[in-house]
Symmetry: D2
Subunit: 105 residues, 4 copies
């Protein structure tokens, strides 16, 4: 069933992007190029119609930058398999203290 | 629908494990502890019933080890959401030259 | 000069381990196997005499685990190049809000 | 001694960049934005005077992209500690089958 496969593919993209890039050095100086690079990596993958990445630089260190952490990362992805289009999002859930990945209906 | 969410969750697990651990230093000396560590990381995540990881150390360097590469990694994961159980696998596809992630029926 | 090369090699090991494993799913259930896996990866690399990794699981989420974050990771490494032995450590610096990597004399 | 610390810092930068970004989806479509993002991450770090990253897309898959692999990545970094300037490079060594990181004199 296309929608099942599309949901699987959407999950791959979110899990991949999170675990590839968490830890990257980031500040307001490079957050935009890092967003664009992550988007470009997601868009290369099969079945992806669109990807949008937002890095919210919420903290820093004595050295003027920090490591990309789960609280700072938002990802929106749209995938299409056959006729099924599925949207999914990664967003930090403050109450659960967790980078929640969810299908968006 | 539970099966759609289960497929999404299975995709997250495969995408996450691949992109977290590709690049890790590996040889036959530590492939087993690395397999166990990756399995333990997958099993911590929500909805996971079981996870199995196999590293096939297919090459080396002049220094007696290599970086974990896509050709070397196999992952099998079983997730359960509500009453829906979904199995998925990551396996190198030699013809496609690609680490194929697929739902297993 | 051997000590210069040894310091370079020590830096490689700390930078590598931090950026490879930050983001890994972790709780008290798997922190020990993850420590052993990271140690095994460091020990495979050239010039390493010894490596010790400590994960301090300082937080969790509603799902009973978290992502390995810079505050949680300590690494000690000893490298030898020629007759020069260099020790280095990675440890979270609370004041600087930074995972400080330093040569240890 | 400044040169020892500079060599240590140079090692950190190369080890970090390699292990953070190996595995990223890449093709000729996004290699330039990925190069710029990696350079930006290195330049944020302490003591860095300059960083240059080159991705040589040497292979692909049936899906038109591949994972960033050690054979494809070149990094040049210049760091300064006190009055000591150290240059270091990461480059694939075909004979050793290894991503060699070296101080450049």
């Amino acid at each position: 069933m296309d929608v099942v496969k599309a949901a699987f593919e959407a999950g791959i993209k979110l899990g991949a992007a999170f675990h590839q890039f968490i830890g990257s050095p980031v500040s307001e100086k490079n957050s935009e190029v890092l967003e664009k690079a992550i988007e470009s990596c997601i868009r290369l993958q099969p079945f992806v119609l669109d990807a949008k990445v937002k890095i919210n630089v919420k903290k820093t260190s004595a050295f003027g930058y920090t490591s990309l952490s789960p609280e700072m990362l938002e990802i929106f992805v749209t995938v299409k398999v056959g006729n099924a289009i599925v949207k999914a999002a990664l967003k930090w859930d403050e109450e659960k203290q967790y980078p929640l990945m969810e299908l968006v209906f």
